[in-house]
Amino acid sequence: MSPILLAEQVLNGLQSGVMLFLMAAGLTLIFGVMGLINLAHGSLYMIGAFAAAAVAGATGSFALALVAALAAAAAAGALIELVVIRRLYARDHLDQVLATFALILILSEGTRWLFGSFPLYLNMPPALSGTVSLPGGIVYPVYRLALIAVGIAVALGLWWLNARTRLGIRIRAGENDREMIAALGVDISKLYTLVFAIGAALAGLAGALVGAIQSVQVGMGEPVLILAFVVIVIGGIGSIKGALIGALLVGLTDTLGGVLLPELFKLFTDPATAAATGSAFASMAIYVLMAGVLIWRPTGLFGARA
């Protein structure tokens, strides 16, 4: 395997890692502040992708499509929070899992009813659709580089929001002591709706951005959701830093495992068997990573509580 191919795969891993981060950051924020496990987060990812595909199809503008994705996912998130989710904060995790599982059924089938079962396609903007030569002779799609940049920008933005703004102070206070900040005059239910909408918007953004390199279809959110869970388990629940590092680890392991393991098996068997066995084991690599982290640190790399 050439170093150039390897470098490309590392970039691919980073790209899928930062997109996972967008999902995992929302999930971990919602869990950290409200103590809620939200299985329907993948549905918000799907809503973002469908909104983007529909608007891009109607207007031809990718920028408008992204705005639509953010707005649709945030609005859907706020609506879900107001109608269903806020009844679940005081419930146990089992009830949260079941109610949000019910939401997945409703949102997935509802989307299928609106848009049909066939996948939609979202074209990436012409300005970003070419390739670029990087130092060292790597030729890489501009769009994927842009995704990495967006992911880094969102990570910085979240850090700024959390550490430097009044909302961030309230979020951190909410993580520590709900009763206290309610007593200090902060409208806690508005704060919860806002946090949920922010998490939803991040998921919607990820859905729209990834939708341009994959097809937009019902059920696209759940595999990403489960990967985001793996990220959170590795990084530690409630930690945005953990989500970032976990997401990059998972993205890189998944991508590099898919390339390197078949190569590794080629040392022992014939190429066809090696490709099949290698890819079968590569699909398990991130879960082995997760199991390893769990044995080492049961609450994740940056997790404080179980």
Partner: protein, 326 residues
């Protein structure tokens, strides 16, 4: 006699009378539906031991269901192609005998439950939910990308496996076999709930500190519960594969895990016949609403949402009242 006992008796009677009527009226499809309900109930009885008794919210029970299914698929496919499963270090042949397949399914799924339990019981709460979901997804992707046994397409078996003395191709005889297994497992479950182990497990769910204080290890109790639970769900998986004469990665998918949990919740958590009621209602809804609309899962979602938000205790809880130890 308590209301719960009356309800349990009524459910058992329905499981006998409905297929008997279908046999008399010549409606084999109803028998197949009932078989489906009984097998789902068996899978949910398995989950109920971990979830209801042990308090372990496992979103990965499709692993055991699927392993049971693949135990049947792999053994039967080798038997129908007359190729050995392996030659070295000793030869293992495939088989078309149900009891052998069940045994393999139970052993394989309890081994998987032991392994998953050892890892995931290091944590609790939300971590446990996410980890069981993740291990489920791991098996799902492994089954999809492992080409030897059909990969994404799954495995078809031409003829249903045999049971000594029965013609399993006759729907009512296969149904009887499944119902007998369900009753056996329900009887086992009833004994388990009242056994010292069941009481200790119940206590470990409610106040783990006290259980530890009397010298028992809550983690070990939960691990044993998870293994028993996985074994029962694995057995159900083997039966389900035999019902469809088909096994595919869908049996391992996270939706399957969610559905098994839905059976338990709609019926009633930690109630002996809760999973039976839940699976029966699910199959009925699937059949009735599926005929009305292609998008019937929207209605299923709404029903589930209502049960979770407003109907604590599921159907059995609503009819028979709260549990004594609640």
């Amino acid at each position: 006699m308590s209301r719960e006992r009356l309800l349990n008796g009524a459910l058992l009677l329905a499981l006998i009378l409905i297929p008997a009527w279908a046999l008399y009226a010549g409606e084999p499809f109803t028998i197949t539906l009932a078989t489906r309900a009984v097998i789902f109930a068996l899978a949910a009885v398995g989950l109920n031991i971990a979830l209801g008794l042990g308090g372990l919210v496992s979103l990965g029970h499709a692993v055991f269901f699927g392993i049971g299914g693949y135990a049947m698929g792999i053994l039967a496919s080798h038997a129908q192609s007359y190729t050995p499963l392996m030659d070295w270090p000793f030869a293992i042949e495939g088989t078309k005998s149900m009891p052998v397949i069940w045994l393999v399914a139970i052993v394989a799924s309890s081994c998987a439950a032991l392994l998953i339990g050892l890892l995931s019981l290091r944590t609790s709460g939300v971590y446990f939910i996410m980890i069981t979901l993740a291990f489920g997804q791991m098996m799902y992707f492994f089954a999809i990308s492992w080409p030897a046994y059909g990969g994404e397409d799954g495995l078809s078996i031409y003829v249903r496996n045999g049971f000594p003395g029965l013609n399993t191709l006759d729907p009512i005889q296969f149904y009887g076999l499944c119902l007998a297994l369900l009753c056996l497992v329900l009887a086992f479950n009833a004994r388990l709930m009242r056994s010292p182990f069941g009481l200790a497990l119940n206590a470990a769910r409610q106040v783990p500190e006290r259980v530890r204080a009397v010298g028992l290890d809550p983690r070990r109790l939960q691990l044993v519960a998870l293994v028993i639970s996985g074994a029962i769900t694995g057995l159900a998986g083997a039966l389900f594969a035999d019902l469809n004469r088909f096994v595919s990665p869908t049996m391992l998918s996270w939706q399957m895990s969610g559905e098994i949990m839905v059976f338990v919740i709609i019926g009633g958590v930690a109630r002996l016949f809760g999973p039976v009621a839940g699976a029966g209602i699910y199959v009925l809804l699937e059949h009735l609403l599926g005929g009305v609309s292609e998008y019937w899962q929207i209605f299923l979602g709404l029903v589930l949402l209502m049960v979770v938000l407003f109907g604590k205790g599921g159907v059995v809880g609503m009819i028979a009242g709260r549990r004594r130890d609640d």
